[in-house]
Symmetry: C2
Subunit: 330 residues, 2 copies
DNA sequence: CTGTTAGCGCATTCAG
DNA sequence: CTGAATGCGCTAACAG
C-alpha cells in the first residue's frame, strides 16, 4: 500500500494524499476526508525509509553499549531511550563487546543507517580507534559520551568525579579507624583507572606510603571474581581493614568471601562498592556504595543529545559529583 | 557523498560504482580498482535506507520489551541481538511500558520502519490489543514471542512449563517436611498466572485443601515489595514453612525479611525464587530457584526468527522444561 | 564490459 | 485547491 494506491482509489494525485498525511493546509475539506477514510480503511502507514530519503533525515539514533546486560549501563540506556522515543526517534541499541575493532565497526554500521545522533555508553569508548572511526564515519552527527570524553568537535561528554569520590571513600574508612585498605579493579577501563587513581590519592593524603597501596585485579568481572580476589587479599594481608571495589557486583562477592571466612562486616572489615546498584541493596549486610550519579548522567546526556539533534552547538563537557551512600558494610 | 559523486570522479556511470560496491562480476579489473580507491578515499558507505527502498528490505528487526531494565529480559534480548546483528540486521530495541495501548503503538512504529521481523519479550505481550495491532499493522512479518503465544499465522512462540516447574517446587518443599507453603506474586501477567496455577496444583496433589492455599501479591515488583509481602505472611501465618516467589528479585526481599525476623533459612523456612538470575547467587543464603530456561528460550526464539527472515514457515510453538536449581535456601 | 533508463515510496516545487 | 513533474540514493533490467 503506497500513496499512489490511495491516490488512485480516491481519484486524486499522490501529492494530495501526501498533503493530507502531513496535515498540510490548502485541501478542500471534502477531499481531505475522502482520503483520510481510505487511509484508515487500509491502515496506511508511510514508509519511514522513503520519507527519510526525501527529507534527508532518518530519525534514527544509535546507542552503543559494550554489554547491554550490565545493569548500570542498561539503566542509563533506558532513560535515554525513553526520552528519544518520546521525541519520535528510533533507537538502535547495540552491544559492541570489548574489542576495539568491533566498536569501530559498529560506528560504521551507524553511519550506514544515517543515524542523526549517537550515545556512547561508558568510558570504554574513549579509545584512539573509536576516535578514529568517528572522524572517519560520523564527523558531523552529534555524539554524547556517558562517563567518558573524546576531544572531537562533534562529541560531548558527561562525566563524574569518580576519582575524588573514591578518595572520599578512603577518607570514610580512615575516619572509622580502618586505614589499611585494599582496592579491587574489576577490569581495565578509563573509568576504573580514575577510580584507582582516586584510591591512591586518598591513601596518600591519609598518610599511606607506596607499600600500603594494595591493588588487586581479577580475571572476570563477576561475583565469583570478587569473591576470589577478596580471598586473595585476606590471605596476603590478614590485617586488611577495608576494601573498595570498582563495582558493586564484585563487592558483593567480597561480602560473601568475608562471611565464608567468618570475618565480621563491618566490625572487622569495611566494604565499599561503586555504582549504587540494586546489587548493593540485595546483599547482606547492605553495601555502602559510591553513587556515581549514573541516572543524572544519562538524563544530562539525553538532554545534550536532544539539543544536538535540534542543531545546537555541541562539544560540551559536563561534570557531576559522586556521593557516598552509607549502608551496613562500613 | 553518493555513488554519483564517485562515478563522476571515476569517469564511469553510477551503475558501475554500484556493481563494484556489491561485488558484482563483469567489471574490468582496472576500473574496479579505480572505483575502489575512490570509495576508500572518501570513506563511502552506501545509504541503507535508499538501498532498502529499492531492495524492498530494511534489514531491521524490532525487539519489544516491557521494561528493558528487567534483568532476565535484557539477558534474552542480548542473545537475540547478537545473533541478528551477526546476520546483518539492525535491532530496534524498545521499552514499551506495561500499558496495552503503548504496546500497540510501538507495533505501529515498527510497521513504519518496515521491520522484517519482531521479537516480543515476555508473556505481557499476550493480550487482545497486541493481537489486534499485529493483525492490523504486521500481519505478514515473522514474529516470535519469548515465553508467550498468540494464535496468529505469522506468530510463533517459545514457552516454558512454568506451571509444572512450580508444582515441582511445592513437591520439593513437601519432601523436606515443609508442606505449609505460601506463594507470592510480584505482578499480574500470563506467565505469573501459570506459576500460581502450578502452585495450586502442586499443593493439591500434596494433599492441601483450599484453605491451605496462601496467595499473596504486592504493590511493586521490587526487593522491598518482597520484603513487605514476606513480613505479612509471617504475621498472618507464623507457622509457614516455605515460600515460593514468582521472581528471584522479590524472593531476595524475602530472604532479608526472614533474617530481620531472626528466622533461620532454610532450617525454619524454605525459600524458592524463579528465574535463576544473578540475584539468587548474590543473596545470602544463596537462593534455590526454578530455572525457567530463559537462555535456551531466547536462543530458540532467535533461531525461529532467523528461519522466518529466510522465508520459512512460521506459527511454531515450542516448549522448554524448567528445572529446579537447589542452593542454600531450601 | 559498461552506460542508459526506470523505479522503489515519498515530499516538494511549480503550474494551472 | 489540485495535479504533473522532479529528485532523494540506490539497484536492476536492458542495450550496446
Amino acid at each position: 500500500m503506497t500513496i499512489y494506491d490511495i491516490a488512485r482509489e480516491a481519484g486524486v494525485a499522490a501529492s494530495t494524499v501526501s498533503r493530507v498525511i502531513n496535515n498540510k493546509p490548502g485541501i478542500k475539506l471534502e477531499t481531505r476526508q475522502r482520503v483520510q477514510e481510505l487511509l484508515k480503511k487500509y491502515n496506511y502507514i508511510p514508509d519511514a525509509a522513503a520519507r527519510g530519503l526525501v527529507m534527508q533525515s532518518s530519525r534514527l539514533v544509535g546507542i552503543l553499549i559494550v554489554d547491554i546486560r550490565v545493569a548500570h549501563h542498561v539503566d542509563s540506556a533506558f532513560v535515554i531511550e525513553q526520552e528519544l522515543t518520546r521525541r519520535g526517534y528510533c533507537c538502535i541499541i547495540m552491544s559492541t563487546g570489548p574489542e576495539d575493532e568491533k566498536k569501530a565497526e559498529y560506528i560504521r554500521i551507524l553511519e550506514q543507517r544515517r543515524v542523526e545522533g549517537v550515545i556512547l555508553m561508558g568510558s570504554m569508548f574513549g579509545t584512539a580507534s573509536v576516535e578514529e572511526s568517528i572522524k572517519k564515519h560520523l564527523p558531523k552527527v552529534p555524539i554524547v559520551m556517558v562517563n567518558g570524553y573524546l576531544d572531537l568537535p562533534n562529541v560531548s561528554g558527561v562525566i563524574v568525579d569518580e576519582d575524588a569520590g573514591v578518595a572520599r571513600c578512603v577518607d570514610l574508612l580512615c575516619a572509622k579507624g580502618k586505614p589499611k585498605i585494599a582496592f579491587v579493579l574489576d577490569s581495565v577501563s578509563p573509568s576504573n583507572i580514575h577510580k584507582q587513581r582516586g584510591y591512591c590519592e586518598g591513601m596518600r593524603r591519609n598518610g599511606a606510603g607506596e607499600e600500603n597501596l594494595w591493588l588487586y585485579d581479577m580475571e572476570e568481572s563477576t561475583v565469583r571474581g570478587g569473591y576470589e580476589a577478596t580471598l586473595r587479599i585476606l590471605d596476603e594481608h590478614p590485617d586488611v581493614q577495608g576494601i573498595i571495589y570498582s563495582i558493586d557486583l564484585v563487592a558483593v562477592g567480597g561480602v560473601r568471601a568475608a562471611y565464608d571466612r567468618g570475618i565480621d562486616v563491618p566490625g572487622q572489615l569495611g566494604l565499599i562498592g561503586i555504582d549504587n546498584s540494586i546489587y548493593g541493596e540485595i546483599c547482606m549486610p547492605k553495601l555502602t556504595t559510591l553513587d556515581n550519579r549514573l541516572q543524572a548522567l544519562s538524563e544530562s546526556a539525553a538532554s545534550i543529545l536532544r539539543e544536538g539533534l535540534e542543531g545546537k552547538v555541541q562539544n560540551k563537557k559536563m561534570m557531576m559529583f559522586s556521593e557516598i551512600i552509607e549502608r551496613e558494610s562500613t
